[in-house]
């Protein structure tokens, strides 16, 4: 479960060593934008050692490598794949062929390391206009894809517009990403909210992303992690309702009823599916109750 994903600069040990205690479901060790070109070598060795020797507790580990249009991405994978991160995040993915290039390279490394094929999953970062238009093809391009991730900052530069707090300029991209991901059966993650001092804004932005169907959201500051976790966790009211739905279905079936109602509303398949998702998530978070 990836409600919150926190970016950590891959060459800054003082920040990386605290990664697992900052509350995020995953940390994203960043070898791309957070690292100067002269320090790419240093960042990949440090991030590799951090994964290999420190571990990140219950936190899942994502490594954002450099783009496939740079001379760094293969060296990044050479260093990182042997220490088996949970996910690789290739940036600026614009088409299925971009994923295929990374996928093939990882496959060869997995084989060399003796890992089972597709052990390491991919979360492509989609942050170009072309990438948004190709979102479904990207999401469905490989068995490695665990989810797709919207990058709002680069996208707005590509769209020739200003990135705002309200995010109207990325509305289409958000909706398209969610639809593409769900159609492909993978998760979908929202762009970070970049005003680290706006403690209310992060709630609003995360709630909006959740309302569109996003699975989780990234953060560039630990200050945003708690808000994201709260928003993307089911409330106790949601959990109670989900159990009520499942109980009503159970009773209905035992009585041979074809249609079941709860609180005056028909319970149909999508409601049951959502209830089951809520229960699964609550259980994963330790919020489940005895059935």
């Amino acid at each position: 479960m990836l409600r919150s994903m926190l970016f950590l600069p891959g060459n800054t040990p003082g920040i990386i060593i605290n990664g697992e205690i900052l509350g995020a479901d995953a940390v994203i060790l960043d070898l791309e934008d957070a690292v100067a070109p002269t320090e790419k070598d240093s960042a990949r060795v440090l991030s590799r050692n951090a994964i290999k020797y420190m571990g990140f507790g219950a936190c899942q580990v994502i490594v954002r490598i450099n783009g496939i249009d740079t001379p760094y991405w293969q060296k990044d994978l050479d260093a990182i794949i042997p220490v088996k991160p949970d996910f690789i995040m290739p940036p600026k993915v614009s088409c299925a062929q971009d994923v295929e290039a990374v996928d093939q390279y990882i496959t060869a490394l997995e084989e060399k390391c003796g890992f089972e094929k597709n052990t390491i999953k991919l979360i492509p970062l989609i942050e170009t206009a072309l990438g948004i238009e190709n979102a479904f093809a990207i999401a469905a391009s490989s068995k490695r894809i665990a989810g797709i991730f919207l990058g709002g900052e680069d996208l707005t530069a590509d769209l020739h517009c200003k990135r705002t707090k309200e995010g109207h300029e990325i509305q289409y991209a958000r909706c398209r990403m969610v639809c593409a991901a769900r159609a492909a059966g993978v998760e979908v993650f929202d762009t970070p909210f970049t005003d680290v001092n706006d403690d209310e804004g992060i709630y609003t932005d995360a709630q909006y992303a959740k309302s569109l169907g996003f699975s989780g959201k990234s953060a560039i500051s630990p200050r945003h992690v708690q808000a994201i976790n709260e928003v993307f966790s089911p409330s106790l009211k949601d959990i109670d309702y989900a159990y009520e739905v499942m109980e009503a279905i159970r009773i209905g079936k035992s009585q041979g009823k074809g249609a079941v109602a709860l609180r005056g509303k028909m319970i149909d398949a999508p409601i049951v599916a959502r209830a089951q998702q809520t229960i699964d998530m609550a259980k994963a978070l330790g919020l489940g109750r005895e059935e």
Partner: protein, 90 residues
């Protein structure tokens, strides 16, 4: 075997990091450690540097470590990067 042919550094003097410098040297390895936790961890840092050099097959080098409370894996990473930057084929 890796041969250090130029002076090279890696890391920073920020907290939890270490600044490592490698330089060419004849007849073996010389390691100097200056750490904010010298008394408690000086020997461990020395050993981490030594082991990293051995793993990288560096036989001759002068290595200086200015440590600001870095974890073992950070020191090893900085030594490795400095070696990669200072070696023959870099």
């Amino acid at each position: 075997m890796k041969k250090i042919i130029r002076s090279a550094t890696a890391g920073t003097l920020e907290s939890s990091d270490a600044l490592v410098t490698v330089a060419p040297h004849e007849n073996g390895v010389v390691i100097e450690v200056d750490s904010v936790v010298q008394k408690q961890f000086g020997e461990e840092i020395f050993r981490a540097v030594e082991e990293t050099l051995r793993a990288l097959e560096v036989k001759d080098a002068r290595v200086s470590v200015v440590d600001r409370g870095a974890l073992d894996c950070v020191i090893r990473a900085r030594v490795e990067t400095a070696v990669l930057r200072g070696e023959e084929d870099a």
